[in-house]
């Protein structure tokens, strides 16, 4: 227990640094909604790259991902590379650059706003926001839950779960509500760099103790000769492709990622970030997942319900380093959640509250800050009860968001898309996917392909087919996405 004070000190210092950065950012933020949500569209390369990157990385990098590598093999590195390194980069251009151009020309802040304006439909705007919040809420809850579990695990239960989750929630509310996108982006940058340094430090430390990668691999193969063979077990080609495709498209529709498409300062910033994606993905996931893989050969035993990376570090590194890594995992959770809170709040205020309930109301940036606090408190309360249904929604959130991607891409590139086509594609694919997740009689996979990928295909066909069969309503403006979009 002597180490607990030190460990809490490390985690606590980390939280205070994040808060301090938020306060500095607040001093630079004016009182407009665009500045609060989007930092006035002025983010530079390093900050944009890391804020998107850190936002992408939840606790999966430190805990669940290495656990999968430990139990099923390191092939998840390939899934990650294909998903975040290549597919997401391509979508960064196809969706992200287009949205940046459209957003800059028309002043959009949210996805729902962008679609609602083009299709002259408040209902479409509301539907897109509601679907997004439906999948986002439990996902935020899972992050708070993860933080609570991590803190109570670190202190051997001296700090109960609810205090850990509550403290994280409070810190996030403070700096998100105070500082908005600029503060979130800056803390994300700190968190992203912190995570990269930690994971490489951990890998170097463990490998130095073991005698290098060749020795670590030799020990692994001595106990488990087929473990590094590509494929087998969990990993089928259908699984690898379904997972990578579904998550890559899903990521682009997560509110906090999608909103980042609107925030780059210039084309140059988008370009640089785009070319760096594959490199960053390699730098983070190869060491993280190989640590989990090697742990298997090193005879590290993982406690029931525990995680392999902390177990490995406890065996090979001093206590303060393990605490740093827990702080790193906390950083990963917070950097995802803070951005989700901010974006969730903007979806709610701009696309649901303002259009449907109160179009005048108080100053929007003030309202948005209250929205952040309410959203965070609600997810915190939910995380105390951890209802099974919410956990299931959170776990399947990527697939749910993925259903939105193809109708949006069609809308952005095909001027023949109609409002009816959008409704059919968005609602049809959601219904199909939800049925696959929640209705036991509906299969969740088709010949090895996940319901998510099949649902995406269905959404694409519905959007194209119904658009072709229907004519645009008079309020639609098919030129919004195609006219005068040039960066200079």
């Amino acid at each position: 227990m002597a180490g607990v004070g030190l460990q809490l000190g490390i985690v606590g210092s980390y939280l205070l640094i994040a808060l301090a950065i938020g306060l500095v950012a607040y001093r630079l933020t004016s009182n407009t909604a665009e500045d609060y949500y989007l930092a006035d569209r002025t983010l530079g390369t390093v900050v944009l790259l890391f804020t998107t990157f850190a936002t992408l990385l939840s606790a999966f990098t430190f805990f669940a991902g290495p656990n999968v590598a430990y139990s099923a093999g390191p092939e998840w590195i390939l899934v990650m590379g294909l998903m975040d390194g290549v597919l997401f980069a391509v979508l960064w251009y196809v969706l992200g650059y287009k949205q940046w151009l459209v957003g800059r020309a028309q002043g959009y802040v949210t996805l729902g706003e962008m679609l609602g304006d083009r299709f002259g439909s408040r209902a479409l705007r509301g539907v897109v926001a509601a679907i997004s919040l439906f999948w986002l809420f439990p996902y935020v809850m899972l992050q708070q839950q993860g933080a609570g579990v991590a803190i109570s695990g670190l202190t051997n239960g001296a700090i109960p779960y609810w205090v850990g989750a509550g403290a994280i929630t409070l810190f996030m509310i403070l700096y998100v509500a105070i500082s908005g996108m600029r503060g979130v982006a800056w803390t994300d940058t700190l968190q992203g760099i912190f995570m990269l340094v930690l994971i490489w430090g951990a890998t170097a430390w463990v490998l130095a103790a073991v005698g290098g990668p060749t020795e670590a691999t030799r020990q692994l193969l001595a106990s488990d000769p087929d473990f590094l063979t590509l494929g087998g077990g969990l990993y089928t080609p259908e699984y690898v492709l379904s997972t990578a495709i579904s998550i890559a498209f899903g990521v682009t529709m997560f509110p906090q990622i999608n909103q980042r498409f609107f925030v780059a300062r210039s084309k140059k910033v988008l370009q640089r970030s785009f070319a760096l994606w594959p490199v960053l993905v390699l730098l983070l996931f190869v060491p993280a997942f190989m640590l989990g893989t090697w742990a298997r050969g090193l005879g590290v035993s993982v406690p029931e319900g525990g995680n392999v990376v902390p177990a490995l570090l406890n065996a090979y590194t001093p206590g303060w380093f393990a605490a740093l890594v827990i702080a790193g995992a906390m950083a990963a959770m917070m950097s995802s959640s803070d951005s989700m809170l901010l974006s969730g709040s903007s979806y709610f205020t701009r696309d649901l509250y303002r259009p449907f309930i109160d179009s005048e109301g108080a100053r929007e940036d003030l309202f948005a800050r209250i929205g952040v606090a309410v959203f965070a408190i609600l997810t915190f309360v939910a995380s105390l009860f951890r209802p099974g249904t919410l956990i299931e929604i959170g776990d399947t959130a990527f697939g749910g968001f993925a259903q939105l991607a193809l109708p949006v891409i069609v809308a952005l590139y095909w001027s023949g898309t109609t409002r009816n086509g959008m409704f059919a594609g968005v609602l049809g694919s959601q219904a199909f996917y939800l049925a696959g997740v929640f209705v036991p009689a509906v299969p969740s996979a088709y010949g090895g392909w996940s319901a998510s990928v099949i649902g995406m295909l269905l959404g694409l066909l519905l959007t194209l087919g119904v658009s072709a069969l229907t004519s645009p309503a008079t309020e639609e403006n098919e030129r919004v996405y195609s006219e005068g979009l040039r960066a200079d």
Binding site: G81, L228, T229, K267
Partner: protein
């Protein structure tokens, strides 16, 4: 039409990058080199190649298929891209000139 050919060409390049990010031809192989599986080395190399390709794309062709001219929309979508052609070299020259290193 040049822009259209260019777009198709880059789409093909993107397709190849996606297709071989996973070394399907090494499926079932357990060969090890320098302490890591051979398939992982392929992946590392491929990601490096992807990053270089993306960089080349940002310098030569950024905007292809996405940017549209100011007057083309609505007036027949098939040739919509051609309007951007004269402006493109300017845009990329400016991008180069603005590049800080």
């Amino acid at each position: 039409m040049v822009r259209r050919t260019e777009a198709v060409g880059w789409a093909l390049v993107g397709g190849v990058l996606v297709a071989f990010a996973v070394p399907w031809f090494l499926w079932g192989s357990g060969q090890i080199a320098f302490g890591l599986p051979l398939w992982l080395w392929w992946h590392i190399g491929w990601m490096g190649l992807a990053a270089m390709t993306f960089r080349a794309f940002t310098r030569r062709a950024w905007g292809v298929g996405v940017e549209t001219g100011p007057v083309d929309a609505g007036s027949g979508s098939t040739d919509a891209d051609t309007d951007t052609e004269p402006a493109e070299p300017k845009a990329s020259v400016r991008a180069e000139a603005g590049g800080e290193h």
